[in-house]
């Protein structure tokens, strides 16, 4: 009788009920702590990226740029007509370029601090996108990750926690209350997670096409690349077995990330390996910024509640000290 009732329930269930798990996946309201932490690091990195462009700005943009506006137009408008567009490819005035970069850096800082977060998140993303489009030939994975994260931050309410906005809100209302859970936080976080899965999947597929990732020598040849080396990793050559295991572990971790990051019992393992891989890239291969931002992107898989609990424990420990 029970099974008959169940069958009748199933038949009577609406089309929307079947989609409910998917809708919950994208729209179940959640707190903003995960996005807030990603916002702090991404905003700081945006400010740092623009600061570094400014260290040699004349070489990167303007009339004396290494890749000048004429070449930019030849590449993006004459050879092929692509959709990369930036007003910076039209500007030759150094004061205007300086103003743009300073504004972008300030927007990054404001994003990190969470002041007028809704506006500055869009501004920081847009200004950085304009710079990125102009800097053809000088970009790498860092720019891809920063643009990705800042774009998805525009969707969520990352300013609801750990921000000047939240502090001002609390001060004006005179209440200490938890920020309201919102569907847009979940929605933004899900897109970061899915995009990250795509990145690792194709990163793994790309490596599978190379014989060095199969014969176990890729770790050595990455360590032996003088241009990338920041700390000596050539000692790894004394143990070909370790080098080979690390090589294969990297490939299989990247390939399986999109599947194994979701179950609760494999997630800590995948995040732990992410910490090792990107920490290694940051320390040994000199890509501190890129390695760091990949770890920041991985934060999307840490629940807001866990981060909030950690922050409470941290502040309690600080007070007791």
């Amino acid at each position: 009788m029970q099974s008959l009732n169940k069958l009748s329930d199933d038949q009577g269930s609406s089309w929307a009920d079947h989609w409910q798990p998917l809708l919950d996946f994208f729209f179940q309201p959640s707190n903003s702590h995960t996005l807030a932490l990603i916002r702090i690091f991404t905003g700081s990195m945006i400010a740092y990226i623009h600061l570094v462009w400014m260290l040699d700005l004349e070489a990167f943009m303007g009339p004396h740029a290494l890749v000048d506006n004429a070449f930019w137009h030849a590449l993006h408008r004459e050879q092929v007509l692509d959709a990369k567009w930036t007003y910076l490819a039209l500007v030759e005035s150094m004061p205007l370029i300086w103003a743009h970069e300073i504004l972008a850096m300030v927007a990054g800082l404001l994003l990190a601090f969470g002041l007028k977060t809704r506006i500055v998140s869009i501004l920081a993303w847009f200004l950085t996108l304009m710079t990125v489009h102009r800097m053809t030939g000088m970009l790498f994975g860092l720019d891809q990750i920063v643009i990705m994260l800042s774009m998805y931050l525009c969707l969520g309410r990352s300013g609801d926690s750990w921000s000047v906005d939240a502090w001002l809100q609390r001060r004006s209302s005179g209440q200490i209350e938890q920020p309201e859970a919102s569907w847009s936080n979940t929605f933004a976080t899900r897109w970061i997670q899915l995009h990250l899965c795509v990145i690792y999947l194709f990163g793994g597929i790309g490596k599978m096409r190379g014989d060095m990732w199969w014969d176990g020598s890729a770790m050595w040849y990455s360590a032996a690349a003088y241009e990338y080396q920041s700390w000596d990793l050539t000692w790894i050559g004394y143990s070909p077995m370790v080098a080979s295991i690390l090589t294969h572990m990297t490939v299989f971790w990247e390939l399986s990330y999109c599947a194994l990051i979701w179950p609760k019992w494999t997630r800590p393992v995948m995040l732990g390996i992410a910490l090792m891989v990107h920490g290694g890239i940051a320390i040994y291969l000199g890509m501190i910024t890129f390695g760091f931002m990949m770890l920041v992107a991985n934060l999307a898989f840490v629940s807001p509640k866990l981060l909030f609990d950690w922050s409470l424990a941290f502040s309690k420990a600080s007070r007791e000290r």
């Binding site: 994208f26 740029a65 000048d68 070449f71 030849a74 569907w183 194709f202 990732w213 000199g286």
Partner: protein, 234 residues
């Protein structure tokens, strides 16, 4: 608790699905190309989504250190000081070169700091090398009109990039004649580094790459001509 209105959920999922196609389009196109064919389905997807994915800077293959870690690519920049003399040759626009050329390499690990600035120059050197096209191709290759047209276009682009960089470096480094050379640093084997104690920055690992390749038709013709008389009985 802020909930998403039900009607908006379907709309957002539809938009999100299209966005995901934009994210997937470029890596799918990149990985579905071979030397003989391009997968038409992924090519169509990429072409459809390319305006969206290019403008949002989503058009990446995500092939970090893939398919294999490769050799280091650098640019050597030489500045030959020019001494303008007061004599007739100077007034005719000729210049006398005197001092030895000053050289700098891009990227420069010692002087370009912080590391991110160095990395920008490292990427520029990779880009410069990736745009390379030889200054001439063989007469045999010229017979393939499609190949010749592609080469001509690539060479013009490389020439323009080279001119842009030389102009910039001349502005930065002062007066003089700037020349650029492409360098490649080979990756040493574990035996070389650990047993022969070859440092990773050993000059022996560094090669200057040619700007043009020898023309095989030009080289082979005289050799054949020399052989022919020998083959004939005296």
């Amino acid at each position: 608790m802020r909930n998403c209105p039900k009607k908006m959920q379907a709309f957002l999922l539809a938009i999100g699905s299209l966005h995901m196609l934009g994210v997937l389009a470029e890596p799918l196109r990149f990985f579905s190309r071979s030397e003989v064919a391009v997968a038409p389905d992924f090519e169509l997807l990429a072409e459809t989504m390319q305006t969206y994915s290019q403008w949002l800077y989503l058009d990446h293959g995500y092939f970090f250190f893939a398919p294999n870690p490769g050799p280091g690519r650098l640019i050597r920049c030489s500045v030959q000081p020019e001494l303008e003399s007061e004599d007739l040759s100077s007034s005719q626009g000729l210049q006398i070169q005197a001092e030895a050329p000053a050289e700098t390499t891009l990227p420069d690990k010692l002087n370009q700091r912080p590391r991110l600035l160095y990395h920008r120059y490292l990427m520029l050197a990779e880009f410069y090398n990736s745009r390379f096209a030889p200054s001439h191709i063989s007469a045999e290759s010229m017979k393939d009109t499609e190949f010749a047209a592609r080469w001509a276009q690539d060479w013009v682009m490389y020439d323009r990039l080279q001119a842009s960089m030389m102009k910039s470096l001349k502005h930065k480094l002062g007066t003089g004649r700037v020349t650029l050379s492409r360098l490649e640093r080979s990756l040493p084997t574990p035996y070389m580094v650990l047993h022969e104690k070859v440092p990773l920055n050993d000059p022996r690992l560094l090669d200057v790459l040619p700007e043009s390749f020898p023309d095989p038709t030009v080289q082979e013709l005289p050799a054949e001509k020399l052989k022919e008389p020998d083959a004939k009985p005296q």
